[in-house]
Symmetry: C2
Subunit: 362 residues, 2 copies
Amino acid sequence: MAEPDTVTVPASAEADTEPTSPFLRACGGLPTDRTPVWLLRQAGRYQPEYRALREKYSMLEVIRTPELAAQVTLMPIEAFGFDAAIVFSDILPPLVGMGLDLDFVKGDGPRIGNPISSTLDVDLLGTPPAEETMAGTLGAIALVRRELEPRDIPVIGFAGAPFTLASYAIEGGTSKDFSRTKAFMLSEPAAWKRLLGKLVTVQADYLLAQAKAGAQALQVFDSWAGRALGREDYLRYVAPYNRELFARVSSAGVPVINFALGVGSYLGEAAACGGDVVGLDWALPLDEAWERVGFERPVQGNLDPVALLAPWRELEFRIDDVLSRAGGRPGHIFNVGHGLVPQTPVDNVRRLVDHVRERTAS
Amino acid sequence: MAEPDTVTVPASAEADTEPTSPFLRACGGLPTDRTPVWLLRQAGRYQPEYRALREKYSMLEVIRTPELAAQVTLMPIEAFGFDAAIVFSDILPPLVGMGLDLDFVKGDGPRIGNPISSTLDVDLLGTPPAEETMAGTLGAIALVRRELEPRDIPVIGFAGAPFTLASYAIEGGTSKDFSRTKAFMLSEPAAWKRLLGKLVTVQADYLLAQAKAGAQALQVFDSWAGRALGREDYLRYVAPYNRELFARVSSAGVPVINFALGVGSYLGEAAACGGDVVGLDWALPLDEAWERVGFERPVQGNLDPVALLAPWRELEFRIDDVLSRAGGRPGHIFNVGHGLVPQTPVDNVRRLVDHVRERTAS
């Protein structure tokens, strides 16, 4: 699929009219008749139908085949009635188009066969357009949009932030201490600048292409900068690129969610990089985290996903705590503060969605 | 070695007299003629003499043999002249005495063969005295003390905090999301209380035994609570046990360092659990972190250990930044904010120690 299907309503056209779906209304800080809810990794291994499909296809096959990715994206919508669908993909495939060999090794996570280890490696990275390299995901977005448009359920596109992608590109996978990434950053500041610059180019283009393909909101995941770096390094080596990314993507005409995980004491600085909505992890109670980013900005979060492994009474207590801290203010999207874990009981996901809906219906 | 050797000066006797070593003076908030310096994991894989010894003995053999553990403890003292020696050990061996099977798997880290998976498992855990179960480390402390006493270089004992040990005991090793630990904590609150209570008993006894064996300071490592838990869960499921541990250990008559890694936005709450000195990770600049815990308390930190992989000019800039943020205030112990990584160049460690000494000599 070289060209994504066109969609019924181009994303740019609807930016001027007030949205009707609770999710998009909350993204705009508008009142809703109930709190919208979706969950990070709402499509995934905890679902039997997902596991069944993954027995037949590899992770990359699913991601690269629009029909399969769309099917997985829709699974949790059909099962639980979430208020938004996030296209099934991963943050790493855009690295493939840049020249890196990516594979997902069972039980071991992502692996890059030819990680960056020199400044020359950085210069050899390409920056091809997303339409050429990410056609599978763009096609899946178009398919999901067509399916969900009649039900007024928006589809969310996403991408990884530059530091997070750089860390995978340099470490070759996940990392305990990010020592290779940070050593490269400190030892080769000029090459670091070129690397993050290329990632901004590729990711901004990819996010804009997702909006063009039909995504009605975009989320940027910075999964590792907060874990890897102190605040001063974050401000010096990461924030300028995040700011540039959010600035470029603002032309998409759809709300952009800035989700920086584990930034802890510098949540305010991470949020200040941009985005319309701030995704919150579970480090702080929702009201305090919201205050730090400013009540004028909508927020998304922030239940600890492991709470879904607890007995219902405990889970219910925690859902209610998030909702009561949100205080019925407009601009709250209920979500977890990190992805659902594979052991999550399906039944708790169902009860969570129903409970948020019942508790917040006006 | 069932009984640790007696030491020249019992730890309890010297609590009443003002110490002379820069490290112990800084622990007491007293002025020093230069900033004392030691580094987390200053004995370890980055040293060729350590790697050579580890080719002959396993990790547990080194830890359990007083002469070997003492030898490794002294390696960085001889090589670089640090101002304190931390006994070579690991936070996990006390779990063996409680009934857990521990092994260190090459490249894969610690593994517990029979992790806790039920409330019965918790009830079966023993709490034998450290003199019986940790004789190797206690013996090593006595040997190191005897060796370093004439040079007025103090020896530090240490132990893991209850949550961190519980996470290994339940996960069976390191963890990405601590989902088993947290699920157990939320699902079995009564058993969690018993588990953490047993860990407090064992760890307090172990720390007191280390002081009795000759340790002149004690450090408590809470490596994972900050990564695993939001602030409210920390306050509810962790802080009471840390407070109890610090309260019991205060009777040792030696300074206690409270090092809670990755607590980010709740550094103040973690520090408030106790300890005379607060260990700081590298998330915040030293002066801001110090302000959060209160300038009246001595602090230890907080260079990012990966900075030792950078070229000397960059490393020097960062060392100077930490020192200038400390501002010459009494009560600063120079250290890294997390353990040295194995790729650390020996030469950078040497230059760091010399530089801190030269820069701060009055």
